[in-house]
Symmetry: none
Subunit: 191 residues, 4 copies
């Protein structure tokens, strides 16, 4: 007879929100953003269409939330010391983490690459993505500069491209991609 407590509501909200985000991520990654309707998300999550709008204002807000959360997680592992400089050990750690995360969250990474390739979706998260890219590029450049590379910026861009390229292939074809070998090969190149 007494209503649920504030905390109970909070728990319900948190878990439902997670459920929706997880379901949406899976569907977006496997079927595509536009091909995934709100109805399908609801059905897969075992809830009603309307409930989704109780938690998110729009379909766009769902993908935005997913991407933003993912980017925030990335920032967290990038530069463990938060000093903006990567030591040789940290760059190895960085590369290893990158592969570990990609392997663990394949769905997210598929979505991550997806976003770049869909102009209307990209617009939604552009600024935050841009931050991520600029910041990681700057860190890599600093690293190569301190390592005495001749053209540190080009080197940083190259490594960035290499990581994105391998990520891209990994995500597209996870069964056949020789993650370990490629990882070792890259580490050997840079450490």
């Amino acid at each position: 007879m007494t209503p649920r407590t504030e905390q109970q509501f909070e728990e319900i909200r948190e878990s439902k929100k997670r459920l929706i985000l997880d379901t949406a991520l899976e569907l977006f990654a496997t079927e595509g953003y536009y091909h995934t309707s709100i109805s399908k998300i609801a059905e897969r999550a075992g809830i009603s269409k309307g409930l989704i709008y109780n938690y998110f204002e729009s379909k766009e807000e769902i993908i935005k939330t997913i991407i933003h959360k993912g980017i925030d997680d990335l920032f967290r592992i990038f530069d463990p010391n938060k000093d903006g400089v990567l030591t040789k050990d940290e760059i190895r750690f960085f590369i290893e983490q990158m592969f570990a995360i990609m392997h663990r969250d394949l769905h997210f990474w598929k979505l991550y690459f997806m976003v770049f390739m869909q102009p209307p979706v990209l617009k939604l998260v552009e600024s935050r993505l841009s931050d991520l890219i600029q910041s990681s590029l700057a860190m890599l450049t600093n690293h190569f500069k301190s390592e005495g590379y001749e053209d540190p910026r080009t080197e940083a861009i190259l490594l960035g491209a290499l990581l994105d390229g391998t990520g891209f292939h990994l995500v597209m074809n996870p069964e056949d991609f020789p993650v370990e070998k490629i990882k070792e090969r890259i580490i050997k190149m840079y450490c």
Copy 2:
């Protein structure tokens, strides 16, 4: 007013088809596939909606045609001798061509990456793309084997990833991407 000859008709058909494909490519690349309606293509091309269906059975067929044509072009430059083996000179040529083409046909390349990231679209061209990838991978592997690399397949995959990664960045941000420097850097790595 003599009636048009068979050949004149054929020429009209060809040029209209080109017009539609070019317009569609531009719009797909800049606005996204799903965000580009048949109406918009027609309007931009200065023709009627109906006419498009005179030349293509569906929207899917349009993107399919664009991608297939592009892939065919690629096959043509891959292995000039058609002998399935890349010499050191040919690999340099290959890399240079790659960048030249990308730079020239940015729209197509944007679409190329797009396709991978949209499952329903990917399905349309999957087999042909797969051919392209397998074939180029095989060629690079052969090359590295003949060059005496320890693990030629991994090396081939790495180069493939590197080229896709740089392509990806180039396409996303063509103004700021240091094409020449990156190209030289890659050629130095492999030749």
Copy 3:
């Protein structure tokens, strides 16, 4: 903590009901009936959506209650003697009261006119409104008859229209409407 008495409960009920009705009236009048959701009423009133359904069966019942209460109030001022006849003094009083009430309860009057103009809403309160109109028309007709007017019914209708028309304008544009002047002008016409 003695349990609340029956009467205290009743008081709470009454004041909550008032709160809901007042909030709803304000929103209906300023934003429109259809544009005002139950959620908005609850939020503005600082209570929960569910509670509203504890006091009213439906959104329709809310507007019905508001209008019916308003009409009952009107009946009360119409014919102070309850004798069904208006003297010249009473008609002046009637007109003055009309303007005073309108000016005081602008929101209600906006809603009053609104109701007429929204068929599905009108249906809800039609019969009670009809009573009000018939009864006031009859009273005015009686008055004009006893004043010796040639065509008392037409005169009554005209005065009714005039009052509704001024009410309408007043409600639409309360800042610029010269209430006093118009009131004097009408009283001069009829007294």
Copy 4:
């Protein structure tokens, strides 16, 4: 085999547009704006839902078009000489026209009053309505000034209110409203 001519298309478009506007007007007036769905309009007009969007961008645009057309018509009869001044004869003509038009286009007039009473709808046509009101008020004020009235503006507002009030009653209850008598009574008052 040849496509329709430009003119044929134009005719189709004109007549379909009329059909949609007429159907919408009737439904809006009898059932209310919000209670009339696009589906209902389409069904009543015997066309598909989608076609309506071929002619109007939104439901709002439909009502906007109806009201704007109506207002433009009104402007046309207001001041036949276009000199901005109403003579005694013209004011009689004006009043007579007003009733004639109202009687003829009851649906439009119902919608006209409706608009004022639905804030979200009013916003759509506010400025044009405001023009109409200001301009007719100015004209009436001029008239009463030239007739030597003591307070011409108040008199103009009063006549305006009277006409709106009678219009309102007429529209609400066309069967029982004694149009002719009321009209004569008003004309006698002012001419």
